[in-house]
C-alpha cells in the first residue's frame, strides 16, 4: 500500500514536473537549486524502479536514466542553473527511445510484447507473423516520435521561454503521445480485421505461420491445444506438417523430368500440398475434377505426370499405360529417404514467381464440352487479394468447410487457396449431406457451397440447425433461386452470399438476394456491355487486354452494378423466330404448378423447343391421374397467351428432378439428350444423371406397359430381354454406345421388377473395352434386381434395328 502510494506520488511529480517547475520559478519564487531537489527525488524514484526491474534491458534503461537525472540534478544544484532543471523531459524521452530502439535490435519489439500480453492466443495464431511485422513498424514509429519529441523538448529548453517549455512538455507533448496511441490503436483495429493473417500464396515461407498452427482437420473438428501437440490426432495437420509435406513432394517432383503434372486429389489437404509443391517447383499443374480413366488418357501425353490420392480401381493391365503417382506413396517414400531425420535434408519451401507459375483448369461445361482454361498463378493471387479485401473481415477465427469440388475455380479459390493464404483451418473432405451441418453447429464456419447443395438443404431438412454462430455461406456455380436462399437462411441463420463468375474470368460480382437481384462487382472488375449485349469484364485477374466477354446478357447501371438477363445462347431462333428460353421457362413457372423447368432448343426435321418440367406440390396434385397429353395441352394452351405457337415447346418431359452434374449445374445437352429418346407409354424416366461414361436413371414401368404383356399374365414382371434392351437404348442415347451388341457376359436376374415400382439403373460404359456394365437396383440401393455386362461390337459399321421387348 505504501509502495503503491509512493508510486502514485512520484508518477504525479514526474508527469506534472514541467508545470511544477514553471509554477516554482514564476509564482513560488523557488530557485533552480531548490527545484533540483525535486530532480533528486525523481532520480531516487527511478532508482527504486531500477532495483525492482528484472529484465536486462529495463535495468540498463532505468540505470542510465537514474545516472543522467542525478547528473542533471547535481549540475543544477551546484550551478543553480535552470537549464539543467528543465532537461528532465528530454531525458525521459531519450530513455524511452533507447528502450524501444533496443527491442527493435533485440526482438520481439516492445509493441509486439504488449500485443502478446493482451492476446495470449497470438502465439498459435496464423496471424502471428503479420502481427509481428506490424508491431515492428509501430515500434519504429514510436522511436521516430521520441526523436522528434526529444528534439522539440531540447529546443524548448534552450530557445523558448519557461512558459512555452512548460506548455509543451507539460501538455502538448502529452496530447501528442495520446493522439499517437489512439491513431495506432485505430489502425491496429482495422488491420486486425483485414490483412492480419493474409499472406499471398506465392510469398509463403516456412516460417509464415507458427509451427503448431492448425492447417486442416477431418470430419470431427479438433481445436489445437496450446502445447501445439495436435499432429497425432487423425486428420489434423499443422503448419509444420504442411511445410514438410510440401517439401517432400518438391523433392520428388524436382528429381523427375515430368511436366506438366495432372493433379487430382479428393482430399483437400493432399491437393493443397501437391499444388503448392508444383507451383514452388515450377511444374505446370493441370487440375482436373474429372478423373475418369478415359478422360485422363485423353489429356495425358507421355512426358506428363499424374499425381492423385486414389488409384484407379483394379485392372493391372492398364497400369503400364497410365503411370499414376500416389501422393501417399510420395510422402512415405521421401520420408524414408531422409529417415535419419528431416534435419539431414534442407526443407524446400518458399516463394515462387506468381507471374511464371502456370496452371490449367477445366470448365464444368454448362453449355458445351469441358474446356481447358490456361491460367497463370498471378490471376489467382490477384483474385485472392480482392476476396480478402471484400470478405476477409468476416472470416477471422473461422474454419473453412466446403460442399463443392476444389478442382474447379470457385472451390479452388475458396476452399484450398484462401485457407492457405489466410491461415484458416479447412476440412479435408467435402460435406456431402445437408444433415451433416448438425455436426458443425458448434463451430464458427465459412462454407463454400452451391445452389445444388442449398436446394437439397432446404428439401431434406425441416428444422433450423442450432448454430452457435451463424455460418458464412457462399454459393456459386449457378443462380441461387431466392426461395432456396430464404430457406437456407431459415436453416442456418445466414442468407447465402452468391458469387458470380466463371472459370475464364474468376469472380466478377457478388450479391445477397435479400437485398435485391443486382450484382455488385468486385472493385477491380471494370464492366462494360459488348456489342452483342453481353457483359464484358476487364480485371487484374483477366490476362487479355480486351477483357473477357461472357455469354450473359446484362443491364449495366452507371455505378457499375448490374442485372443479369439470361444467357445470350438462351436466345434461340426457332424457324426464324427469336425466343428467349428463360422467358418460356418464366411463363411456365407463372402457372404456379412448376417447381423447376428447362426449355431447350432441338433440331430434328425442324427446329423446335422442348421442355423438361418438375411439378411442384400443387402441380402434382392438380395433375394426379391426368393423362400426359392433357398436361401437355394445359401448358401449351397457357403459353399461347404469351408466345407464338411456333416457339411453344413441342415435346414435354415430367421429371422428379432436373439432372445436375456434381457442380450442381444443369447442362443443356443433358436435357437435350433426354428428348433424344422418344417418349413411350411403356416406361418413364423419372430422373437421371449423366457423368462421363456413367448414366444413372430412375425408371418406372407402368402396369399398362406393353412390356408386361404375354409373359406371365397372372404375375406381371419385367422380362429380362426388356431390361437388357432398355440398357442398350439408354446407353446408346446418353452415352454414345455403338449400336450393335456382340455378346452378353455374366448377366444375372436376381429379383423380379414389378409394375409401378421405381427402379434405378446404373450404366457404366468403358469405351476402351467396349463394355457396358449395368445394374438395376431398388431406389434405396438395397435390392439388386439384375446386373451384368454387355460387350458391344466396336467394329460393326451399322447395327440392326432395335430389338424391342
Amino acid at each position: 500500500m505504501k509502495r503503491f502510494a509512493g508510486k502514485i506520488f512520484f508518477t504525479a511529480i514526474s508527469v506534472l514536473y514541467p508545470v511544477i517547475v514553471f509554477c516554482g520559478l514564476r509564482y513560488w519564487g523557488l530557485s533552480p537549486r531548490r527545484l533540483s531537489l525535486m530532480l533528486i527525488a525523481l532520480a531516487f524514484y527511478h532508482f527504486l524502479n531500477f532495483t525492482r526491474s528484472k529484465s536486462g534491458v529495463d535495468r540498463g534503461r532505468t540505470g542510465g536514466l537514474v545516472a543522467l537525472v542525478l547528473a542533471c540534478a547535481i549540475f543544477a544544484f551546484v550551478a543553480n542553473n535552470v537549464l539543467f532543471v528543465k532537461l528532465y523531459p528530454v531525458l525521459v524521452n531519450l530513455s524511452l527511445l533507447v528502450f524501444f530502439g533496443f527491442t527493435l535490435w533485440r526482438p520481439p519489439s516492445f509493441a509486439f510484447r504488449m500485443a502478446c500480453l493482451g492476446d495470449k492466443s497470438l502465439n498459435m495464431s496464423p496471424a502471428f507473423k503479420a502481427v509481428e511485422r506490424y508491431c515492428q513498424k509501430v515500434t519504429v514509429a514510436w522511436c521516430i516520435f521520441f526523436v522528434v519529441n526529444g528534439i522539440i523538448a531540447v529546443l524548448t529548453v534552450f530557445v523558448c521561454s519557461d512558459k512555452i517549455w512548460s506548455l509543451y512538455n507539460g501538455l502538448i507533448s502529452y496530447i501528442l503521445i495520446g493522439l499517437f496511441f489512439i491513431i495506432e490503436y485505430l489502425i491496429r483495429k482495422m488491420m486486425r480485421n483485414k490483412m492480419q493473417s493474409y499472406v499471398p500464396v506465392c510469398d509463403l515461407e516456412s516460417d509464415a505461420r507458427p509451427d503448431g498452427a492448425l492447417v486442416c482437420f477431418d470430419a470431427v473438428a479438433e481445436v489445437a491445444d496450446v502445447s501445439g501437440a495436435v499432429a497425432n490426432v487423425a486428420g489434423l495437420r499443422t503448419w509444420r506438417d504442411f511445410v514438410k509435406d510440401v517439401s517432400r513432394v518438391r523433392y520428388y517432383l524436382e528429381a523427375r523430368e515430368n511436366t506438366p503434372w495432372i493433379l487430382h486429389c479428393e482430399d483437400a489437404y493432399y491437393f493443397t500440398v501437391a499444388l503448392l509443391a508444383m507451383l514452388q517447383s515450377g511444374r505446370k499443374a493441370l487440375v482436373t475434377a474429372n478423373r475418369q480413366e478415359a478422360f485422363i488418357k485423353e489429356i495425358k501425353k507421355p512426358e506428363y505426370g499424374f499425381l492423385t490420392d486414389e488409384p484407379f480401381a483394379g485392372n493391372a493391365s492398364n497400369a503400364g499405360e497410365m503411370p499414376t503417382t500416389l501422393i501417399q506413396d510420395v510422402l512415405a517414400e521421401e520420408n524414408a529417404r531422409c529417415s535419419d531425420g528431416e534435419n539431414a535434408r534442407e526443407i524446400k519451401f518458399g516463394k515462387f514467381d506468381k507471374s511464371k507459375a502456370e496452371m490449367v483448369l477445366y470448365t464444368s461445361g454448362t453449355t458445351g464440352e469441358p474446356k481447358a482454361v490456361y491460367k497463370r498463378f498471378l490471376q489467382f493471387e490477384n483474385e485472392l487479394f480482392e476476396l480478402v479485401k471484400v470478405f476477409g473481415n468476416d472470416w477471422v477465427n473461422r474454419k473453412v468447410y466446403s460442399t463443392v469440388n476444389h478442382h474447379h475455380i470457385y472451390g479452388l479459390l475458396f476452399t484450398a487457396l484462401l485457407p492457405i493464404a489466410t491461415g484458416l483451418p479447412f476440412r479435408r473432405h467435402r460435406i456431402d449431406f445437408p444433415t451433416e451441418l448438425a455436426n458443425i453447429a458448434g463451430e464458427a464456419a465459412v462454407m463454400a457451397s452451391s445452389p445444388a447443395f442449398l436446394k437439397r438443404l432446404s428439401a431434406e431438412t425441416d428444422q433450423p440447425f442450432e448454430f452457435k454462430c451463424a455460418p458464412i455461406i457462399y454459393s456459386s456455380g449457378g443462380p441461387l433461386p431466392e426461395d432456396v436462399a430464404r430457406k437456407a437462411c431459415e436453416r442456418t441463420g445466414f442468407w447465402p452470399m452468391e458469387i458470380y463468375g466463371s472459370t475464364e474470368t474468376g469472380g466478377i460480382a457478388y450479391r445477397q438476394s435479400k437485398n435485391g437481384l443486382v450484382w455488385t462487382p468486385f472493385e477491380v472488375c471494370k464492366m462494360s456491355v459488348a456489342e452483342n449485349g453481353c457483359l464484358n469484364i476487364k480485371s487484374s485477374y483477366i490476362l487479355e487486354e480486351e477483357g473477357f466477354t461472357t455469354g450473359d446478357l446484362v443491364d449495366l447501371y452507371d455505378d457499375g452494378r448490374f442485372l443479369l438477363k439470361g444467357r445470350s445462347d438462351s436466345i434461340v431462333k426457332i424457324e426464324e423466330k427469336r425466343i428467349s428460353l428463360p422467358e418460356v421457362e418464366m411463363r411456365l413457372k407463372q402457372t404456379g404448378l412448376v417447381q423447376d423447368v428447362r426449355v431447350v432448343p432441338m433440331v430434328g426435321k425442324r427446329q423446335y423447343l422442348a421442355a423438361a418440367i418438375v411439378l411442384n406440390a400443387a402441380g402434382r396434385e392438380k395433375f394426379a391421374g391426368v393423362p400426359k397429353l392433357a398436361i401437355n395441352n394445359f401448358f401449351h394452351d397457357y403459353l399461347l397467351k404469351f408466345i407464338e405457337n411456333t416457339v411453344s415447346p413441342k415435346k414435354w418431359r415430367y421429371l422428379e428432378e432436373l439432372p445436375q452434374n456434381t457442380e450442381g449445374k444443369i447442362r443443356m445437352r443433358d436435357i437435350q439428350s433426354l428428348f433424344g429418346l422418344a417418349e413411350s407409354p411403356n416406361f418413364k424416366i423419372l430422373k437421371f444423371r449423366r457423368e462421363p461414361g456413367v448414366l444413372t436413371a430412375k425408371l418406372l414401368f407402368p402396369a399398362a406397359s406393353d412390356y408386361f404383356d404375354n409373359h406371365f399374365p397372372e404375375f406381371k414382371l419385367l422380362p429380362a430381354v426388356v431390361q437388357v434392351d432398355m440398357v442398350l437404348r439408354l446407353a446408346r442415347n446418353f452415352l454414345d454406345v455403338p449400336k450393335e451388341l456382340s455378346k452378353m457376359n455374366r448377366t444375372r436376374f436376381a429379383c423380379p421388377i414389378l409394375p409401378d415400382v421405381p427402379v434405378v439403373v446404373k450404366i457404366t460404359y468403358d469405351a476402351d473395352a467396349g463394355k457396358v456394365i449395368f445394374a438395376y437396383t431398388s431406389e434405396n440401393g438395397e435390392t439388386l434386381y439384375s446386373n451384368g455386362s454387355l460387350v458391344m461390337n466396336m467394329t460393326a459399321a451399322a447395327g440392326e434395328g432395335e430389338n424391342r421387348g
Binding site: 424457324e575 430434328g604 426435321k605 425442324r606 400426359k628 397429353l629 401437355n632 395441352n633 401449351h636 394452351d637 399461347l640 407464338e644 405457337n645 411456333t646 411453344s648 413441342k650 415435346k651 414435354w652 422418344a678 417418349e679
Partner: protein, 91 residues
C-alpha cells in the same frame, strides 16, 4: 372412324414426330391447326403445315392448290382432309 382417317392420323403422328398422341386422341372434326371454341384441336403450327403437306402428298399421291385459302380449307380437320384425298386420289 374410317380407315382413311386413321391412316391420315398415323401419317400425321409419324411425319410430325408427335409425342404422347395416338390416333384415338385426334378428334376427326377438330381443327388440325389451332383450336376451336370447345378447346379441341391439335394445335399444330405453320411449320408443321408445310411438313404435313409434303407427307400427305407422298403418302396419298394428292397435290394441293397454291391458293392459300383453298388449301387452308382442306386442312381444316382430319375429316376435311379425308374428303379431299378421297375426292382427288382417284383421278
Amino acid at each position: 372412324m374410317s380407315d382413311l382417317n386413321t391412316r391420315i392420323k398415323e401419317v400425321m403422328i409419324e411425319s410430325l414426330e408427335l409425342e404422347d398422341i395416338t390416333p384415338a386422341d385426334i378428334v376427326d372434326s377438330a381443327p388440325i391447326f389451332g383450336k376451336n371454341e370447345a378447346g379441341e384441336g391439335l394445335g399444330l403450327d405453320s411449320i408443321d403445315a408445310l411438313e404435313l403437306g409434303i407427307a400427305i402428298k407422298e403418302n396419298f399421291g394428292v397435290t394441293f392448290s397454291t391458293v392459300k385459302e383453298e388449301t387452308k380449307k382442306h386442312f381444316a380437320s382430319v375429316d376435311a382432309l379425308a374428303a379431299y384425298i378421297s375426292a382427288n386420289s382417284k383421278g
